[in-house]
Structures are given as C-alpha cells and as structure tokens.
Amino acid sequence: MSPIQIRPDEALEELTSFQRKLTHGIQNLMQAEEVATGVTPKQAVYEEDKMVLYRFQAPTSVVQNPVPLLIVYALVNRPYMADIQENRSTIRGLLDAGLDVYLVDWGYPDRADRCLTLDDYINGYLDRCVDVIRKRHKLDKINVLGICQGGTFSLCYAATHPEKVANLVTMVTPVDFQTPDNMLSNWIRYVDVDLLVDTVGNVPGEMLNWNFLNLKPYRLMGQKYLDMVDVLDKPEQIDSFLRMEKWIFDSPDQAGEAFRQFQKDFYQGNKLVEGGLKIGPHEVNLKNVTMPVYNVYATEDHLVPPDASRALKKLVGTKDYTEFTFKGGHIGIYVSGRAQKEIPPSVARWIQERS
C-alpha cells in the first residue's frame, strides 16, 4: 500500500485553502505597521559608553519589594525579548508581581568597542550598574536575574562580588558548555578563535545568526515561513510574527575581545566547570555563589540544553538552590502564553519569600 494517497480534489482543496489564506492575509500584511520594540515604559537611570541602565515603570497599584531586581541580558540579540509585547512580557509580569525591575542594555558595539573584554562588561559596566542601584536604594545588596549568556555573566559576577548580590536568578543559562547535546559547543571546537577575532575584529551579528539558524535549518529557514501562511488572516498573529522576526535578526556585533574570551574560556575550555576561569583580576569559583539561587531552564531548549543549565546545582556554594523546569524552548520561555503565567510569578514568589 502506498503511504501517500492524495486525491486530486483533496489536493485542490488544500491548495485553495492555502491560496485563500495567502490572498486575504496579504491585506492584513499590507496594513501591518513597523513593529515597536519593548512595550513597558522605562527610564534611563545610568549610561556609560553604549550601555544604558533602565528602570521600568511599575504599576502604582502594586506594593513593591524594597530590594530591586537587575536583569542582565546576553550580549547576543537584544533584551526587548523579555518585553516583546503587551501580553507577552516577562518584565511586565515581574512588575505586576511586585518587583522593582532594572535592566542592563549593552547596546550595539561597533569598531570602537572591539577591545572591550569580559572584565569590562562584568567587573566594569555590570558592577557599576549594581553600584548605581545600591546607591539609589541605599542597599548593600540587590537581586540579580541573568538571562542566557547574561546568566553566565551574573554567575561570574555573583561569584566575585557576593557581597552585592542578595538573591540570584538564572534563566536558560549555560554553565556546562560541553554537554554532549550542545551543538554550538561542537561547532566551535576546531575554530581558531584567535585567528577569527584578529581577522574580523568585532564578530558580525550575521555570523552568529547563521549559526543559530543552522541549529535547525530546515525548520527555521523553511517550514516557519509556510507556517506563517496559516496565521496571515489574524492581524495580531502577524504582528507577533513580525516582532519575533525582527528580534531574531536584530543581532548586535560582538566586541572582539569579549567574544574571544567567551569562546575560549567558556565553550572551548569549559572553565566554569573545570575551574581556572579568571575575569580580569578575579578568579571565578562558583563555590563563592553563596546567596540563594533560582535556576530556570527549558526542557526543549536547543541553544542551551537542559543539562548545560542543570550543572549549576553541583557547582554553587549555596545551600538554598531551587530549580524551575519549564516545558518549552529557549524562546518560548519568554514569549509563550504559558510562560507568562508560570515564570514571572514563580520568580517573584521565590524572591518575596527571601525578602
């Protein structure tokens, strides 16, 4: 028996339906406006070079936790993923749950920033942001939430400046960079990172995008666009799709020296696990992470496999370690409807319990 039995009338019906969606959807498409990025009102409270520290406007009806939360995003892609639209905003969820939210926006590095190192980012920009917030709130310690690579940065920071971090939340954060299912780690193994950085200076965002898309090339560069036809008749879904598409391809270049160390020490050397990691003058030992830690990871994460995040449990020095498992992917953890219901409230609850 043939595994495929498509009758002409069925095929015609399928194509008619496809064509109908395309025709009607195109009208919606033509009315689609330029997508805005970041939806929650915010105010810049500190700027240095291209880095900006924002404070988000909290709803007046909610009683705020007196200890603010600083969100540290990755250098890769833009932080508005955490605030991508009204009903899909992790930041909005955290504000609604009573947290006073700050965010570090690293900006778009250009040639003038190619010598910025991880020391500059972590012990420089990040530390000064923390100091600004501590000073504003007259506190010794604040809460820190790191996302993806920003989570790795937060871990390094918490390990070397534990006196300034009250509670640490890590989301989809790579810790063990050499788990067997880590495709990105496999790809960088034989790349001469020094040659790459010495040659290109800053690493182009397009190059990173190429890598991310090629984790699932047939799905991300083909199937996704056919799926889109199915939602063309729903203006709000077109808007969501365009926002996501904008975010995916909004990839800042990577400051050369920071990229060099991140690839060599984290991906190739796996020093966060193996030891021997130094950020500037500081030796990074995760045993010094003694504050409470809340580690959120996604079961279907193709960029940061769950095992890469779960490795944190055995490495940190704290006795107050909690994991939160989200059934979804690396992006879904910020934007899916279920994530909005699960992630911000659980993070806020965990922090409130420790305030």
Binding site: M1, S2, P3, I4, Q5, I6, P8, D9, E10, A11, L12, E14, L15, T16, F18, L22, T23, I26, L29, M30, V35, R114, C115, N123, D127, D131, R134, K164, M183, N186, W187, R189, Y190, V191, D192, L195, L196, T199, V200, G201, P204, E206, M207, W210, N214, L215, P217, Y218, M221, G222, Q223, Y225, L226, M228, V229, F241, L242, K246, P281, H282
Partner: protein
C-alpha cells in the same frame, strides 16, 4: 490597493482556469493507462509571483524580508503540490518511488529559488550535483552571510568557474594556479609577488575547505531520504495513508532535521566547519594585508595601525578609569575625614560651652551654699534657666555624639563601594 486587488482578481481567475484544466487532466490521467500529459508550467506559482511583485513595494520596508521568504516558499509549495498530486497516473505508489519523485521535485521547486545565491558552488564543482539547492540550505546561507564579508566580492570567487569561460576543467585551473604559485618571487617586486601568492594559496585552501564542507552535506542525501522513507511508512502504518501535501512536507522537514542534527553534532562536522571558518579567515587576513600594503603606499592609516591605536586607547581608558575611581575614593575618604573633624569640632565646642556653663553654674552656686535664702527665688530661676540650657547642652552633646556611630555606618558602604571599585579596576 486598487491595483493589488485587481492583480489578486487576475490571479484568482488564472487559478480557476488552471483548476479546471488540472481536474480535467487528473480525470484523464485516472482513465488513461499512459501517463497524463504534464502542464508546461504552473500558472499558480507564476501568477503568485507577478502578484507579489505588484504588491510588495507597498509593504512596509521592514516587513519585506520575511514575506519575500514566505512567498518564495509559497510558490515552491504550489509547484510541489502540482507535481506531486497531478492525477492518478504518474503518481508513484511505492515508498522508494515516492521518495525519488519527492527528491526530484524538491530539487526543481526549491532549486530555482536558490539559484545564484551560492557563489562557491561552481568553485567546488557543485553545479551539477543533484540535490543542490534546498538540500544545501545551510550552505547557501553561509554563502550569503560571508560573501559580503570577504575582502573581494563574492562574484570574484564565481569567476574561478573557469570552465564557464574557457572550457577548462577544474584540474586545468588548479594546474594553472600551481604554476603561478610555483613561480619563484624575485626582483624588485619580490615581496609583493609573495604576498599575492600567499593570498591565492589561502583562496585555494578555502576552496578545498568549502569542497569538504559541501561534500559532507552531499553525504547526507542518502540517509536523509532513507529517513524520510522510514517516516512516511511509519506514519502511514500508524495513522493511515498521508493525504495532505503539507503533511508530506512536514514529514520531510522532520526527517532531514533528524539526520542533519546527528551529523552537525559529530566530530566530522566540527572538523569541516572549523576548517571552513579558519580557511575563510585565512583569506580575509591575507586580503587585509594586501589592502594595508596599498594604504601604506598611499600614506593612509592602515588597519593594523588602527588596531594598535584601539588597544592603546582601551588601555588608556582603563588606566584613566582606575585613577578616577581612586581619586573619587580618596575624595570620599577626605570628605568623610572632614565631616568627622567638623563634627568633632562641633562636639568640642558644645562640650566647651557646657563646661563653661557648668563652671558658671558652680560659680553661681557657691554664694547660695554660703547661705542667703532671699536669693532662693532668683536662684531657682537661674537654676531653671541653667537646667534648660544644661538640658539643651546635653542634647546638643548627645546629638554631637550621636552621629558618630551613624557616621561610621554611612562611611562603611561608601568605603566598601570605593574599595570595590578599586578592586574591579
């Protein structure tokens, strides 16, 4: 909008006519024992293409990219449907035939969309490889991503497709390159000739690395198609025959992703990928050296000089920042010292005043102790006043003494912050 509506109407009309012809063809195909004649072209895809060209300019510029991609796939989807379910005759029935037809169809359908996007294909002799195009999606993307980053235009590499121009084979081209590279560099332009030879060597290394990288994908073809066949059979066995074009497409994507993921996570892929990136960087670096030579000859700043300046500027900024924080720390310490001194002075003043008052009080108390009850009322008044002042003095004294621990507390974070900054620098 009126134009786009009109074009859409034309498109819909074209489709209606095509459906009629197609249904008729399918009917005849079922009836006939010989394969049904195939329509020369797919008017759906063609009309869609024309329509898209008409409406696309009116779309917001920022939305063009994703929708171009979507329309390309949409056209391929129509072609795919037309070819795959074109009536009873000619439609394969056993899984192997299905997979073969699918393979041919995907190559035709997606190949056209990707033509011209891979400037390296000709270099590596990929032009004639069956299954180029959509199978090579990752590769095409690589070409698009990096051809713009090369020190020479992507088309330049295409010019290495010597057979297209001279009829020579790749081996002839390689031999010619080898002869060029084997020519010893002598004379006044010796250094320049060596640099150019180095550049060409890097290009050839890149060509080799690209060939190996592409060969890896070519090896995936057979296992991918086999996985596709397995999935089709498994789906049919579990849920009955597949009766949707989209379901076939999704099954195909799943199968290819599965095989690709296994390969992409292998050591073989890591080596080929690393080789490709390193070779590309080799080309770019040699290219940059050549450019630097030219810039230097024109007395213009070179890239390497700018690189040195960038590092020096970075180091200078770091040193400046360190000094600034140290200065700020010292200033804070001095301010704290000054506060302490001022407050200590104030406290001393208060104590002195209090002492003076006490002395005066003691002085005024002496006559009283020596008798004279007539001054009692005045004494009470004076005492009352003195008590008030004394109370005030005590409070002043307290307030002078009070800030000390507070001062210590406020100074601590400031000092802590300062030392933190010092350490970080």
């Amino acid at each position: 909008m009126a134009d786009s509506d009109s074009t859409a109407d034309q498109w819909l009309e074209a489709q209606r006519r095509y459906w009629d012809a197609w249904t008729d063809m399918a009917r005849r195909g079922i009836e006939a024992t010989t394969p049904a004649p195939r329509a020369p072209a797919n008017p759906w895809a063609d009309a869609l293409d024309q329509w898209w060209k008409a409406v696309a300019p009116s779309l917001p510029q920022s939305n063009q990219g994703p929708f171009d991609q979507m329309m390309n796939l949409g056209k391929s989807y129509f072609s795919m449907a037309e070819q795959f379910s074109g009536g009873g005759a000619g439609v394969p029935t056993n899984p192997t035939e299905i997979v073969e037809k699918w393979s041919r169809m995907m190559t035709d359908a997606f190949g056209q969309a990707n033509q011209g996007l891979n400037p390296f294909a000709a270099m590596a002799g990929q032009g004639a490889r069956p299954g180029k195009a959509f199978w090579d999606l990752p590769l095409d993307n690589w070409a698009r991503t990096f051809s713009g980053g090369l020190p020479i235009p992507g088309d330049f590499l295409k010019a290495f497709d010597i057979p297209a121009f001279t009829g020579e084979g790749p081996e002839d081209m390689r031999a010619r390159m080898d002869r060029f590279l084997a020519t010893p560099a002598v004379g006044y332009a010796r250094e320049s000739q060596e640099q150019q030879q180095n550049f060409v060597r890097r290009l050839l290394e890149y060509e080799k690395a690209m060939g190996e990288y592409q060969a890896g994908f070519a090896e995936l073809m057979a296992p991918s198609l086999e996985a596709f066949r397995r999935r089709l059979e498994a789906t049919a066995k579990e849920h009955g025959p597949i009766n949707s074009i989209r379901q076939i497409y999704d099954t195909w994507v799943d199968a290819f992703e599965e095989v690709y993921a296994e390969y992409a996570n292998s050591d073989a892929y890591a080596r080929r990928y690393g080789g490709l990136v390193n070779a590309l960087m080799g080309v770019k670096r040699e290219g940059a050296r050549l450019v630097d030579e030219q810039l230097e000859a024109m007395n213009m700043p070179t890239r390497s000089e700018i690189g040195v300046l960038e590092h020096r500027l970075h180091d200078t900024r770091a040193a400046y920042r360190k000094l600034r924080f140290e200065a700020e720390g010292l200033r804070e310490d001095l301010d704290a010292q000054a506060d302490i001194q001022r407050e200590t002075g104030d406290a001393l003043e208060h104590l002195r005043a209090e002492l003076d008052q006490l002395r005066a009080q003691v002085g005024s108390a002496k006559p009283e102790s020596s008798g004279g009850s007539g001054k009692t009322g005045g004494g009470d008044a004076a005492q009352s006043k003195d008590e008030g002042e004394a109370t005030g003095s005590t409070e002043a004294s307290k307030s002078a003494a009070k800030p000390k621990p507070t001062r210590t507390r406020t100074a601590s974070p400031s000092k802590g912050g300062t030392s933190g900054r010092k350490t970080q620098s």
